[in-house]
Amino acid sequence: MANSHTAHDAHDDHHGAPQGFMQRWVLTTNHKDIGTLYLVFAGIMFFLGGAMAMVIRAELFQPGLQFVDPQFFNSMTTMHALVMIFGGMMPAWVGLANWMIPLQIGAADMALPRMNNFSFWLMPFAFILLLSTFFTGGGAPAGGWTLYPPLVLQGGDSFPMAMFAVHMMGASSIMGAINVIVTLMNMRAPGMTLLRMPLFCWTWLITAYLLILVMPVLAGAVTMLITDHFFGTSFFSAAGGGDPVMYQHIFWFFGHPEVYILILPAFGVVSEILPTFSRKPLFGYESMVYATASIGFLSFIVWAHHMFTVGMPLAGQLFFMLTTMLIAVPTGVKVFNWSATMWKGSLTFEPPMLFAISFLFLFTIGGFSGLMLAIAPADFQYHDTYFVVAHFHYVLVPGSLFAIIGGVYYWLPKWSGHMYNMTLAKWHFWLSAIFVNVLFFPQHFLGLAGMPRRIPDYATQFADWNAVSSIGAFGFGLAQLIFPYLIWSCVRGGEKATAHVWEGSHGLEWEVPSPAPYHSWSEAPAIELIERGAAH
């Protein structure tokens, strides 16, 4: 047995990345390659969705209709959301999971490598389907990313294309989530107990549970839309005994957990970065795990806070208001723990740390505006205004996106084997952090003053803050161009990275050389490495 083991490892050592583009990138089963594919795909989608945001902000720079017609404007808001959520955020997180989870738990690869590749390759085809709607009669979907009936049913040729694209993305997400759960539950190296797992693994585990429980529900909702449109069912039509509000309930049963799918892995990344650059273990590791699980559970019983204004029994409003506010408790635990982690640490401010600290402040602003929106009577005023837009962009951009960028800056030397240009990365951070606030903070004022969302033109009283917001948007958009340039030049060359990369880094991913070899942990790591790496 021992003999065959060494023979096998010797065999694996010869085994670098396969030659040839097809073998390496299309037929691959390697978690690192698939992670790279996901991240590159997400990056392209981020810039595509960002270009749509630029169109939106250009049109809103001043009142009146300047550049696009209202129908196309509505397509822009709808497609911006779909592309960013399903094409940018979710694949970026799956890409990071693919790269880091096997490295962090001492596994040779993901548990189901072929299915892993299938999850990825569904995504480009889903987006060919979704994006080709721009070239159909009637243009791309324009009824909002939530796909509410009856409006969505009045869409043109784009309607079934968007529906099938959502089905494909859903299948991809479900398979990706199954892979993450099975990997974390079955592939951990001996000695890597559940409560020794890095928090990125923990938050992804909860995220994967959420994905498996809600993506099929979205598939069901979309299926009902298709049959209502083409096959004469009456799920969302009162004439036949159904109810369009029923769609909203089903959709948000998916939709609220979905926002935690976008943010929980961010919690994980921030929980990795802050201890490293504070040179202190994470404060309250176990309470972080329990807080994550509580948020995961609560996310299933709060969905109707998205629809207080559609009409709901008073008991329902009270229930969903109170459960929503309850989420502030575990979230508060997290913010407290992150702050306590930095307390009396010897902090240094490398780019990942800068993004993580700004995440802490700016995500919390988004959390607070979320609490305001949770108050049902107040929500009647805020609903469908720019205040909502400001709220979810604060949690998604300086929240999720900053965590993704921070995570890439944190692990990039491990992937490429090179350090990147720290000065330029800090420019990237400061420009992003300043412009993101110029972009989104004024939208709070606009919303409280009553400016509705999803409109191409507005009353002149909203002109000033819209102009400011648009300037912020252009600055933020331009600043992001630094990011692909930095990644490209870091992959091409640069100062050699050490295995540990950062002075304060702990964990198994830092015990393999940089760049991480094509096959890592073919043999399980020694128990001492696991004990040393555990953050507490």
């Binding site: 396969p18 089963t29 498996i212 529900v217 004469g232 036949g240």
Partner: protein, 296 residues
């Protein structure tokens, strides 16, 4: 050893080196969906559907054949086996949630939207102003009496007629597959193949009887997919269930053929158990369906 196994033994976790199936599957699904879009949008001939569907068939045969060959070559250790088991379990849970969406629609309609349309509680103006004649009872096809016979009426299928027989069939098939499983573990191969055959035969009889029920519903009862919310929930729930029974019965047939070829041992039979789990899942969904769609 199969050709793509390299020099591998089961002492370590088996990681395949490359595979054509994921990209084949993605292209196949895309062709199928593009064909469906072309058809639904009346763009002309939906020709891409056929090659897509064929390719999907090739995919299933190819992918499963690859895995079966790897397994027969002894590449999988206990840990790989456990991964497959957990994967199948979570797949079934995702399927449960898919059905949950449609059951949610059923309960929402019965408990909330239909009474509201009928003017319950604060929705009294629906009764006073919109639909004075609508009686909010179940089953219903809504205030506009959609679908159904020419006069808008329709009949439903009595629970204790064909559906009760179908319930008996599925429950029996749950027993026969359990007997087959015990036989497999005890090494009684004849008993195994007899009871496995009984299971898939019962499954296909169920599908056939559902077909006759649908035929009766459409031709005589005025119960169609378009018969308001009742027809919608009835056909979507029983339809997706029937589709799953069909898939399950095909899977049972496949593992039955594999049993005849001598596959599976008393200890190593993941595929058998996966299909058995799937079959029990289909069974349980039917029981819920029988109670809430047909009976009460």
């Amino acid at each position: 050893m199969s050709s793509n196994s390299h020099a591998h033994d089961s002492s370590t976790y088996y990681v395949p080196h490359s595979s054509p199936w994921p990209i084949v599957g993605s292209i196949a699904l895309f062709c199928v969906m593009w064909g469906a879009v072309t058809f639904l949008n009346d763009w002309g001939s939906a020709w891409s559907f056929l090659p897509g569907a064929l390719l999907l068939l090739v995919l299933f045969f190819g992918w499963f054949a690859t895995v079966i060959n790897e397994n027969q070559a002894g590449l999988f250790n206990a840990q790989v086996d456990k991964s497959f088991r957990m994967g199948m379990m979570w797949f079934i849970i995702s399927e449960v949630m898919f059905f949950a969406a449609f059951f949610g629609a059923l309960f929402y309609a019965r408990e909330l939207s239909v009474p509201w349309i009928g003017g319950e509680g604060v929705k009294v103006f629906n009764k006073l102003l919109l639909w004075q004649d609508f009686a909010p009872t179940w089953p219903t096809n809504g205030p506009d009496r959609l679908g159904g016979h020419a006069d808008g009426s329709f009949e439903t299928i009595a629970a204790f007629s064909l559906p009760a027989i179908n319930t008996a069939l599925l429950l029996t098939s749950g027993v026969t597959i359990t007997i087959a499983h015990h036989a497999l573990r005890a090494g009684h191969r004849t008993q195994l193949s007899i009871f496995l055959a009984a299971t898939w035969i019962l499954g296909f009889i169920f599908v056939y009887l559902q077909g006759t029920e649908y035929h009766e519903a459409y031709t005589e009862l005025g119960l169609k997919l378009s018969t308001g919310i009742y027809g919608s929930t009835f056909f979507m729930l029983t339809g997706f269930h029937g589709l799953h029974v069909t898939i399950g019965a095909i899977m049972l047939t496949v593992i039955w053929l594999r049993c005849l070829r001598g596959h599976f041992t008393a200890k190593n039979h993941f595929a058998f158990e996966a299909v058995a789990w799937y079959w029990h899942f289909v069974d349980v969904v039917w029981l819920i369906l029988f109670v809430f769609v047909y009976w009460i």
